[in-house]
């Protein structure tokens, strides 16, 4: 089980590699794309002005540097779709990433792109992005026809659901899961909104809008019903605040807040999950560093055979915010942490 870290420049390489990152992923948005489509159409699920490299030479420097550490680099080509015009451009980019740059894997969402790449017989492996919304074992089975070496599961699956999928396909494909930073209030693969800076994320934008309930078929709600619904809405908005990295805040000593699956690491290790993904290509180097250290410490304890509840206890201590852990809203995955072992 590897620790997969985001990286957005060569300058971050040494720091993250020395701190425990075992795999890297990043994006590239060449200037030509930006000029043609601006920030209105994203090449790889991140604003082109943040979190991505811009040239193949920069990326090659990063890939070569990572290779010296023995760390593979994966590249996101994970827009939900590419039009015919974009597809030929992205295919050319993929060939360059595979040949000239020598990346280890391409992370893909669009089934059409996945199919096209699978026919090229690239050296680079293919990873299916979480945006492809692989929510069940049948979907894993469907995707195998394209020969991916890894499928990244959405954050919205439970540990038992993940366990079943890993058990069913352990010998055919690796499974990667999210482990730290940034949630998504929606099913990422079925969210048709943009995070364009002008309007921001839809989920957080909703929290600031006026909202009014109406009873089914237009009937008036009673005062009691309205109070209950409003209270639930308030709880939901609080949950969205957690999903959004606790309102994009950090602890007093600079540690990242936000959604987390650290307590599930012992379960993922037992299940046979291949990789734990830290979110945040666009995050500051400090946040990336703190995130890698945090995940790696929990992974190290797990690998060393520490009892599950001890690992969970340590994971919560690392977050340094028991009030947030206890809220129940900061967890990607609910795990049973109350039983004795």
């Amino acid at each position: 089980m590897k620790v997969l870290a985001p990286i957005s420049s060569y300058e971050e390489l040494e720091m993250l590699a020395e701190s425990g990152a075992e795999e890297f992923y990043c994006g590239i948005v060449p200037r030509e794309w930006l000029e043609r489509y601006t920030g209105a159409v994203w090449l790889n699920r991140r604003n082109p002005k943040g979190g991505s490299l811009q040239t193949l030479s920069e990326l090659k420097q990063l890939v070569d540097g990572a290779r010296r550490y023995g760390i593979p680099v994966f590249i996101t080509l994970n827009a939900p779709y590419y039009t015919a015009e974009q597809l030929s451009w992205v295919m050319e980019l993929a060939r360059a990433l595979d040949g000239e740059v020598g990346v280890d894997a391409l992370i893909v969402t669009d089934i059409n792109l996945l199919m096209q790449l699978s026919q090229l017989k690239l050296r680079a492996a293919l990873h299916v992005s979480s945006v492809a919304a692989t929510l069940n074992s049948e979907a894993v089975d469907f995707l195998l026809q394209f020969g991916p070496s890894r499928i990244i599961l959405p954050r919205s699956l439970t540990v038992p659901e993940i366990e079943k999928m890993v058990a069913g396909y352990r010998d055919q494909v690796e499974i990667e899961v999210f482990i730290l930073n940034d949630g998504c209030a929606f099913e990422e693969g079925f969210c048709a909104t943009t995070h364009h800076h002008t309007v921001g994320a839809f989920c957080t934008s909703l929290s600031e809008m006026e909202a009014e309930f109406e009873g089914n078929r237009g009937r008036r709600l009673t005062f009691r019903q309205t109070v209950r619904l409003r209270r639930n809405l308030s709880h939901y908005r609080e949950w969205v605040w957690y999903v959004n990295g606790n309102g994009c805040s950090v602890t007093p000593n600079g540690l990242p807040y936000g959604p987390c699956g650290l307590c599930a690491i012992p379960d993922f290790y037992r299940i046979g999950v291949a990789s734990l993904k830290i979110v945040g290509r666009e995050a500051s180097p400090l946040k990336k560093l703190a995130s890698v250290k945090m995940v790696r410490e929990v992974v190290n304890r797990t690998r060393a055979g520490a009892p599950r509840l001890r690992v969970i206890e340590r994971a919560k201590a690392l977050r340094q915010t028991p009030e947030h852990c206890n809220s129940g809203y900061m967890c990607y995955y609910k795990v049973n942490d109350a039983t004795t072992e």
């Binding site: 309007v199 600031e208 089914n216 237009g218 619904l229």
Partner: protein, 335 residues
């Protein structure tokens, strides 16, 4: 008459999304809106839609009905309910399309008896899939049903806060190339059309996009079915309404069991915090899914496209498509 009369309307299928067998014989004229119990908030949208349909197409006769839902596996009907709809559709001379949502492994299991029923049906029945796993299941076990790609698998952005503004202000706000790509999807790649064809898929379902939808992909041989007057914005396995009956700490878990609380209410959002001036926009949350509604301009554009022969079918949804029928007492007893 801006619609320009309806004498030259080409052959196009009309479908209605029904909530149960008793609606299989529904008609649609502006006056019929009362029959759909749509509520005060959505009533103006439906009234406008019905009025414009009349203007462009005259009296509409539904020849097909859609049943089921695309967004939540907890709203899958019972086999008995689906059986009743199959019978009613046959009785009324309607073709049937069964809508399925994105699903977990548990949802796959819940779908099997429903698909089995349709697979045994005398006539081939359309099943809309919004999950590649469901298509996989259909192809392996239920080869007599006709798979149709659902609108959740059409990945065009449809963010009503901004994508309509892109189109309205191009090339000032964004370049024309961006608007063109936002109106399209991977459907305009012949390779994708070929892939769908190999999967046995001949039709795809779409939303009418705030930025406009480019239907030129139909030249690749695919048929386009478009929904109106609502489009989906976003959906989630984590449902606000389902949280109603949980303790605060236990709320908002993926796929959490619910009591179908979504059937009791809807939530209307007003875009009062818009930075772009479109503060009169409304969005609707029903259960786990957010929807936008079609403006008059969007409807007129869609109907013009329909009249030019680019659309195979229009699917009229008189309610936000999150309906679920409580099994009747009789059916409960039979179970």
């Amino acid at each position: 008459m801006r619609g320009g009369g309806h004498q030259d309307v080409i052959a196009m299928e009309w479908s209605i999304h029904i909530s149960g067998d008793e609606e299989a014989g529904a008609t649609l004229r502006p006056g019929d809106i009362n029959n759909f119990d749509c509520g005060l908030k959505l009533r103006p949208v439906l009234a406008l839609t019905a009025q414009l349909i009349e203007e462009y197409f005259g009296p509409v006769r539904f020849t097909r009905c859609a049943y089921g839902n695309e967004f939540c596996e907890h709203l899958l009907p019972t086999v008995e309910r689906l059986e009743a709809v199959v019978s009613a559709a046959r009785r009324c001379g309607l073709q049937l399309t069964f809508l399925t949502p994105y699903v977990s492994d548990a949802g796959i299991e819940a779908l099997k008896p429903l698909l089995n029923l349709l697979n045994k049906n005398g006539e081939p029945c359309e099943v809309v899939f919004n999950d590649w796993g469901v298509l996989n299941l259909i192809r392996r076990e239920f080869s007599k049903v006709v798979p149709v790609q659902g609108r959740l698998l059409n990945k065009s952005l449809r963010d009503p806060r901004i994508t309509g503004m892109y189109a309205a202000t191009a090339p000032g706000f964004v370049p024309q190339a961006a608007v063109v790509s936002l109106r399209r999807s991977n459907l305009d790649c012949s390779s994708y059309a070929g892939f769908l064809s190999r999967m046995g898929v001949a039709s795809v379902e779409l939303d009418n996009l705030p930025q406009g939808v480019d239907l030129s992909f139909t030249e690749n041989g695919l048929k386009a079915n478009v929904y109106l007057p609502f489009g989906f914005i976003s959906t989630s396995r984590i449902c606000m309404a389902a949280g109603l009956h949980y303790q605060k700490k236990e709320k908002f878990q993926p796929g959490a069991p619910c009591q179908r609380e979504c059937q009791t209410h809807l939530l209307e959002y007003s875009y009062t915090n818009s930075p772009l001036g479109n503060k009169d926009q409304k969005f609707y949350l029903k259960g786990n899914t957010y929807f936008y509604y079609h403006t008059e301009a969007m409807l007129r554009t869609l109907f013009e496209q329909a009249r030019s022969g680019l659309i195979n079918r229009l699917v009229f949804q008189p309610r936000l498509p999150m309906m679920w029928e409580r099994p009747s007492k009789l059916m409960e007893e039979r179970r």
